[in-house]
C-alpha cells in the first residue's frame, strides 16, 4: 500500500525504450506504468519459440546497434503517444543469446481506456520489429544458424512473432 501510494505521487516518467543484455522482468516493468488515472494496461511479449518456418530452433542471438535502436524506438513511442491517448508506454529489447521461452521484447502501455492501450501496444511492436537496427540469428537443431530476414526468411516473407 505504501509502495502503491508512492508510485502514484511521483511525476509521470518519460516514455522509455531500453536495449539490454539482462533478462527482462515484465512484472517490475509493468509496475512502472501504474498511474491512478489508468484503467487499462496492455502488455506484449515476444518469446523465443522452438520452431520457425518449419525449422527446429534451439536458441536465438540478438544483436542491436544500441544508440540508434534507442533513438528510433523512442521515436516510435512518441508516435504512439501522438496518435493514441496514452498515460505511459515503455519497451525493452533483449540482446545476446536467448533460450526457448525467454522474453526477447516487452512492450507495455497504460491508458484510461482499453482501446487505446491495445492499439498503441500493437502499433509499437509492429514498428519496432521493422524499424529498429536489431538483428537475430537463429541456431537450429541441425547445427546450422541463420540471420533472420537475410537468408531463409526473405524467401518466405515470414517473421517470428
Amino acid at each position: 500500500m505504501a509502495i502503491r501510494c508512492f508510485c502514484f505521487r511521483r511525476l509521470l516518467v518519460a516514455d522509455v525504450l531500453a536495449v539490454s543484455p539482462d533478462e527482462i522482468d515484465p512484472d517490475s516493468l509493468r509496475r512502472q506504468l501504474f498511474n491512478p488515472r489508468a484503467g487499462a494496461y496492455c502488455g506484449f511479449e515476444g518469446w523465443v519459440r522452438n520452431l520457425n518456418d518449419g525449422h527446429e530452433v534451439l536458441r536465438l542471438e540478438y544483436e542491436a546497434y544500441e544508440p540508434l535502436a534507442i533513438k528510433e524506438g523512442e521515436k516510435v513511442l512518441a508516435e504512439a503517444r501522438a496518435e493514441y491517448s496514452l498515460l505511459q508506454a515503455h519497451c525493452v529489447h533483449r540482446t545476446g543469446m536467448l533460450e526457448i521461452g525467454d522474453c526477447a521484447v516487452w512492450v507495455g502501455v497504460s491508458s484510461a481506456h482499453r482501446h487505446e492501450a491495445f492499439q498503441a501496444c500493437r502499433y509499437i511492436i509492429d514498428a519496432l520489429k521493422v524499424r529498429l537496427p536489431i538483428w537475430k540469428k537463429e541456431h537450429y537443431a541441425n547445427g546450422d544458424s541463420g540471420w533472420v530476414n537475410c537468408e531463409r526468411c526473405t524467401e518466405h516473407g515470414q517473421s517470428t512473432t
Binding site: 515476444g46 540478438y62 544483436e63 542491436a64 546497434y65 544508440p67 540508434l68 535502436a69 533513438k71 528510433e72 529489447h93 526477447a104 521484447v105 511492436i125 519496432l128 520489429k129 521493422v130 524499424r131 529498429l132 537496427p133 536489431i134 538483428w135 537475430k136 540469428k137 540471420w147 533472420v148 530476414n149 537475410c150 537468408e151 526468411c153 526473405t154 517473421s159 517470428t160 512473432t161
Partner: protein, 80 residues
C-alpha cells in the same frame, strides 16, 4: 574522392570479417557506398531491404555522402 568510415553490422560484419574500415572512394549517395562495398558485406539482398544510417542518424539510400561521414550499413532488421 571522399574519405568515409564504413561500419558493418550483423551478417554484413560477419561477411566482411571486420567491424569497420576507412575508405577513400568516389561516391555521392549512400547507395553508392553500399554498391562499392558489396565485396565486403556480400549482401544478397537488394539495397531496398537494407537500412542505412549516416553519422548515427537513420537515413535513406538517396542521401548525399560528405567527406568525413560515417556510414552504417544495416542488413534487413529482425527485432522482436
Amino acid at each position: 574522392m571522399k574519405t568515409i568510415r564504413v561500419r558493418y553490422f550483423a551478417m554484413f560484419r560477419e561477411n566482411a570479417g571486420i567491424d569497420e574500415e576507412t575508405l577513400t572512394i568516389e561516391v555521392s549517395t549512400a547507395t553508392d557506398v553500399f554498391e562499392a562495398t558489396r565485396g565486403r558485406h556480400g549482401s544478397s539482398e537488394p539495397v531496398g531491404h537494407c537500412k542505412v544510417a549516416i553519422n548515427d542518424e537513420m537515413s535513406d539510400w538517396q542521401a548525399d555522402i560528405s567527406d568525413g561521414d560515417t556510414v552504417l550499413l544495416f542488413p534487413p532488421v529482425a527485432g522482436g
